[in-house]
């Protein structure tokens, strides 16, 4: 149990974790972009980035610097306050949800056991759902405040899409929550020691992943930024670092969704552990990272393969297909859980 004398150390540990996680997340985002460009390029029989660094590995750095040095244009007709606030909102909220994701079990440093997670909220899952729902404000406000037609359409589409798929997303994970009997992600992961949840909740996983792709505005649900229809969608009027913020928010959301899928359905950090103590405590992090990477790869793979839905078809698909299925899944799971406990 932590006492008051431990407080400085715990604070330090938490701060260190925040910094490490933030740095790792930013790097992951940068390299997810690189990975995406590389994987999609190879799918399309191209080379992708190749000139900046070996195999274009320094490309993300170059891109980041470029964004910093670009002129930051704020068009005359925009609502300045909201226009500047929207990317911040999208960016912050996208990064916030990562704080409750457990990356590994724990490490023991100087007699103190530090869990590999920024904070273990007992309603962690609920927190993530809440924060990702708030993310729609960034997009909707960006579309609205730009005071221009294409961004407006993008913002509207996005709001409608996020709200529709939020329901499916929430319901898809209810099954897992019922099995685990907890909303804490750490506990959900720990309960998967015997069998991963994917085997208990296959339908739940498929629904979750579909809804998650829609939530993160990725192909085939990338309507809010369908460049062939809406030019740039909600971020048409944005430039320089404000645009980069949206860009990073999108990839941060992808990472979060992948982390969540790993934790909820694929046993999080669980995997074979061996070797000396330090390896034993860090190996789970590697498993976790590998699983998340697999998800990111699938995301990119889908993007390289599928065409895009139409707006109304997307809505139909959400309300008439995935939502009833999610409800059915909840019903079925609850019946089984009730039968087991009876």
């Amino acid at each position: 149990m932590a006492t008051l004398s431990d407080f400085p150390l715990l604070l330090l540990a938490t701060l260190a974790k925040v910094v490490v996680v933030l740095v790792v997340l930013l790097t992951t985002i940068a390299y997810t972009v690189w990975l995406e460009r590389k994987v999609v390029a190879h799918i399309q029989s191209r080379w992708g980035p190749y000139l900046v660094g070996p195999h274009g590995l320094l490309q993300p750095v170059a891109d980041g610097l470029k964004f910093l040095f670009k002129e930051d244009i704020i068009p005359d007709q925009v609502d300045r306050l909201i226009f500047c606030l929207a990317p911040l909102l999208a960016f912050t909220l996208a990064f916030l949800s990562i704080s409750v994701i457990p990356f590994g079990e724990s490490v023991t440093l100087a007699g103190h056991t530090i869990p590999l997670q920024i904070t273990d909220l007992n309603v962690g899952l609920l927190f993530i759902l809440a924060v990702t729902s708030l993310g729609v404000y960034g997009v909707a406000l960006a579309g609205w405040s730009s005071n221009s037609k294409f961004p407006l359409f993008g913002g509207l589409r996005s709001s409608a899409q996020l709200i529709s798929y939020e329901l499916t997303l929430g319901l898809a994970v209810v099954g897992v929550v019922m099995i685990a009997g907890s909303l804490s992600l750490r506990e959900i992961v720990e309960q998967q020691h015997g069998l991963w949840n994917i085997f208990k909740q296959p339908l739940g996983f498929l629904l979750y992943f579909t809804a998650a792709i829609a939530e993160t505005n990725r192909t085939p649900f990338d309507l809010p930024e369908a460049e062939s229809e809406l030019v740039g969608g909600y971020h048409t009027e944005y430039s320089s670092f404000k645009f980069a913020m949206f860009f990073m928010a999108e990839y941060a959301n992808m990472v979060t969704v992948s982390c969540l899928a790993t934790s909820l359905f694929f046993g999080g950090w669980l995997g074979p552990v061996f070797g000396p103590p330090i390896v034993r405590s860090l190996l789970p992090v590697v498993w976790f990272a590998l699983k998340v990477l697999t998800f990111l790869f699938v995301y990119i793979w889908i993007r390289g393969t599928l065409p895009r839905f139409r707006y109304d078809q997307l809505m139909n698909f959400g309300w008439r297909f995935t939502l009833p299925l999610a409800l059915l899944n909840v019903l079925g799971t609850s019946l089984i859980v009730a039968w087991r406990s009876a």
Binding site: V40, I43, Q44, S45, R46, K149, F153, T219, P220, D222, L223, A226, E227, S228, E229, L230, V231, R303, G304, T305, L306, P307, R308, F309, R310, Y311, D312, Q313
Partner: protein, 398 residues
Amino acid sequence: MAVTLEKIPGQEERVILSMGPQHPSTHGVLRLVLELDGETVIRSLFDIGYLHTGFEKSFEALTYSQGITLTDRMDYLAPLSNNLGFCLAIEKLLDLEAPPRAQWTRVLLTELTRIQSHLVWLGSHALELGAMSVFLYCFREREDILRIFELVSGQRMMTSYFRVGGLALEPPLGWLRRVEKFVQMFPARLQEYEDLLTKNPIWLKRTVGIGTISAEDAVALSLSGPSLRASGVNWDIRKAEPYSSYEKFQFNVPTRPEGDVYARYLVRMDEMRESLKIVRQAMEGMPEGPIKANAPHVVLPDRESMKTSIEALIYHFKLVTEGFHPPVGEVYQTIESPRGEIGFYIVSDGSPKPYRCHVRAPSFGNLTTLLKIIEGRLLADVVACIASLDTVLGEIDR
């Protein structure tokens, strides 16, 4: 003064969206003015002319041979088809026929042009519906065809390879082997695109029943080419009024009765297979003989004969400095370009430059159907419809 939609008095205000000319999916510089209710198109107008370069007027300032270079630049995705149409029109005026080998080569190259033009269409169509990979696959294969063009004419896109009375140059030795290689490779690639799209549920959802146009409307609005055949009208100039020995080739004209975006997709996919068939026949049955007609007053002489015969040298000088003099009269010649019926109407006053040259551009006719088929449709369908009509703005804004 930009085209705009006037507000109808007494009606509630709706969003007027100006789509283009710098919009990513208006195929160049088409501008659409859309009145939207939500995302549904209520009324629409199109605004063309952003790519106007005055081709038709420019023809009057150039000799007939020089005019060929303009035809490349009109429909920049099907340069050889345009070359052929223009050359055939002048040959008709001169009552001249190209030798068999030239005709066969022309058929072979125009069918390759059809394939590469359809590849660009397929690629951009897929890209506009979000399937990005197909776009790059198509351009990969198109590159092979462009290399063949470069091999033959020295130019990838602006080939200007066909000349009045034959071809510009003797094609290099062994060029048919390159064509052979392409013909061998292409069917598998075509299958690859079909695997990605034809039965893909999302693709079907985006294309089936969208932008339907009936056969009557299609004819009334002067739709032509594959888009017309997708509405169930079996009309192909290659069959109806054969030119350049097309009557000697066996091929089918694919048609579909539905008339929607998906039908237009299927027809063009089948057309690529048929074109491949023609290419194979032309390759196998390629006759021997000269590549230019024996008409010294029109056709440039060989370099060898110029050095040995004084007449050839004089003709060369006359043709290069002045051009040839066709008889007074007017002539109209249509051919089946990848986009449809392209016609060249030429009026000659006996001078080496045409008095007037008008082009019946298939894209222009095809575009006129657009407003009809996007009415009441969603914004995303507008993009699909534009893509499925396969218009080239360079040709519309002559």
